[in-house]
């Protein structure tokens, strides 16, 4: 099964706590996942200040600054993985370095009903 692991963290804590991961560590972990075949895609994201939100209503496109939801924890990156089942996905998610300072939401992918 495919799972999307969404990495959430408070942005001011992501890089500043004693347990905060360094970029080298994240790179190393994702490279390991690619080598094992478990990783389909994954990227880190710029801070939410760089985000815009796009909506289309009645054919009109509107663009607003900032993220869609004002929450304490922000989306900081994602891993798209292939795992045997949820137990394996949880194990791989637990290894994502920012899990130590933020949280990882593990979501199974849905096949479009077409």
């Amino acid at each position: 099964m495919k799972y999307l692991c969404l990495v959430y963290s408070e942005e001011d804590k992501l890089h500043t706590l004693p347990d905060s991961p360094r970029d080298e560590e994240c790179k190393h972990y994702s490279e390991g996942l690619y080598e094992s075949g478990a990783m389909l895609a994954g990227e880190a994201l710029q801070p939410v200040a760089s985000a815009v939100t796009v909506r289309v209503r009645g054919g009109e496109t509107s663009v607003t600054d900032g993220p869609f939801a004002e929450t304490k924890e922000q989306l900081a990156g994602f891993y798209l993985i292939q795992a045997r089942d949820l137990n394996e996905a949880i194990r791989l998610a637990a290894g994502i370095p920012p899990a130590r300072v933020g949280s990882i939401e593990v979501r199974p992918l849905r096949e479009l009903a077409v």
Binding site: M1, Y3, A83, R84, D85, L86, N87, A89, I90, R91, P108, R110
Partner: protein, 418 residues
């Protein structure tokens, strides 16, 4: 093949249903990979047994026959549905190709353990885990579970449907966790069993006649789990439940109101349950692992072995709470430790700890901390503070036996003043 007339066969099939339907179900869920399909297949298999065994005789291995019949019936069902949904045909072919593995006793018991871990997976909500476990493993009906939890039947039915959907959609596996995950996943299973036990034990007495005995179900589950997975904490939890259950006859007075441990008639405690519980706890701690259930079991064992509240080895209880507090730092454990300190070193010692907790903002809305504080003030002959704390405990309690208990305590204090 054994032959028999229809009525003896029917009785035999009914007995097999009681003894083995959960085992057959567990194996069918593994083979079919779908809870609902497996439940339908289970009913189909027993129906087929009732129809065929009077003519053909009972097969040599009835359980294997039922699994095999259930599997073929499920493939038939998928084929019939394939007329509307082509993907069903693929699934049916896949199942037909699969060679069922051996049906020896060990693999059947593995299936039961797999089912327990699936029903108690931490990805499911806590109330859904309990409902699913009682439904699939204990074979309670949705109505029985609803009555036991004082929850409307449609709510419980919906919880079970959602849990099954999540098992399918999120890929919750049907297997015993690997060694690396086992401890954490087992914790989730033990939590479900203890929740079911407490739900039964603290249920109000008046309704116990119509409610399924959840404590007994939890103890049965504990025994099953211990047989399947002889882990020290499973042993510790079973011991703990037996030691608490042993007090059942003494814990309520004639009016159905709770009796404090120190006032219970210990002659009414179930000695056989205590002996078994103590032995289990001793074995659990003998493993050298001090799990939270084993430690709570050890505390219950010290109480169980004491002739009275005064004769209790409070120093040992405080020591056990010290270890428990390190294993499970929680304000409620700290409160229980404070009460034990009061018994060991006098009310003042306990009161200082409780006041410190309240000052730190802990448990301020928890009725039991105010009740404990009230009792210590009473023992220190400070009735004004005792009354104030009992009022607080009463006001924070929901309607029921516990609230009535604090009201009675208040009345006793008032009459003592006059």
């Amino acid at each position: 093949m054994r032959n028999g007339n229809d009525s003896t066969i029917a009785a035999r099939v009914a007995a097999l249903y009681r003894s083995d339907s959960r085992r057959v179900l567990a194996t069918l869920i593994r083979l079919l990979g779908d809870f609902d399909l497996a439940e339908e297949a289970l009913q189909d298999a027993f129906t087929a047994a009732l129809a065929q065994w009077p003519r053909q005789g009972e097969p040599a291995n009835p359980r294997a026959w039922l699994v095999s019949a259930g599997r073929f019936k499920a493939i038939d069902r998928l084929r019939r549905r394939a007329r509307f949904d082509a993907s069903r045909e693929q699934l049916a072919q896949h199942l037909e190709m699969q060679r069922p593995e051996s049906d020896d006793d060990a693999s059947v018991e593995d299936d039961r353990l797999r089912l327990i871990f699936t029903c108690c997976h931490p990805a499911l909500a806590a109330d859904a885990r309990a409902a699913l476990t009682l439904r699939e493993i204990c074979d309670l009906t949705t109505e029985e579970i609803a009555r036991a939890f004082l929850t409307p039947t449609p709510t419980v039915a919906q919880r079970i449907v959602r849990a099954k959907n999540k098992i399918r959609d999120a890929g919750i596996p049907y297997r015993v966790p690997d060694a690396a995950e086992l401890a954490e996943r087992l914790e989730s299973v033990l939590q479900v069993i203890y929740l079911v036990f407490n739900e039964g034990y603290y249920a109000s007495a008046g309704e116990s006649l119509t409610r399924t005995d959840l404590s007994a179900e939890a103890i049965r589950l504990g025994r099953l789990l211990l047989a399947l997975l002889p882990d020290p904490e499973v042993r510790g939890l079973l011991g703990l439940m037996l030691l608490i259950e042993a007090r059942r006859a003494a814990r309520l007075d004639a009016a159905g109101d709770p009796v404090l441990l120190e006032h219970q008639d210990r002659g009414r405690w179930d000695r056989a349950a205590i002996a078994e519980g103590c032995a289990l706890v001793e074995q659990a701690l003998g493993s050298g692992r001090f799990g939270v259930y084993s430690l709570q079991g050890a505390i219950a064992a010290v109480h169980a072995e004491a002739a009275s509240a005064e004769a209790t080895d409070w120093a040992q209880i405080v020591g056990l709470y010290d270890v428990l507090l390190r294993a499970q730092p929680s304000p409620v454990v700290a409160l229980n430790r404070a009460v034990a300190m009061a018994m060991r070193d006098g009310p003042q010692a306990g009161l200082a700890l409780i006041e410190a907790q309240l000052d730190a903002g802990e448990l301020r809305d928890y009725p039991l901390i105010h009740a404990a504080r009230a009792d210590l003030y009473r023992r220190l002959a400070r009735p004004d503070q005792a009354r104030e704390s009992y009022r607080r405990a009463r006001d924070l309690s929901p309607e029921g036996a516990q609230k009535r208990f604090y009201e009675r305590r208040l009345e006793i204090l008032e009459s003592a003043v006059e």
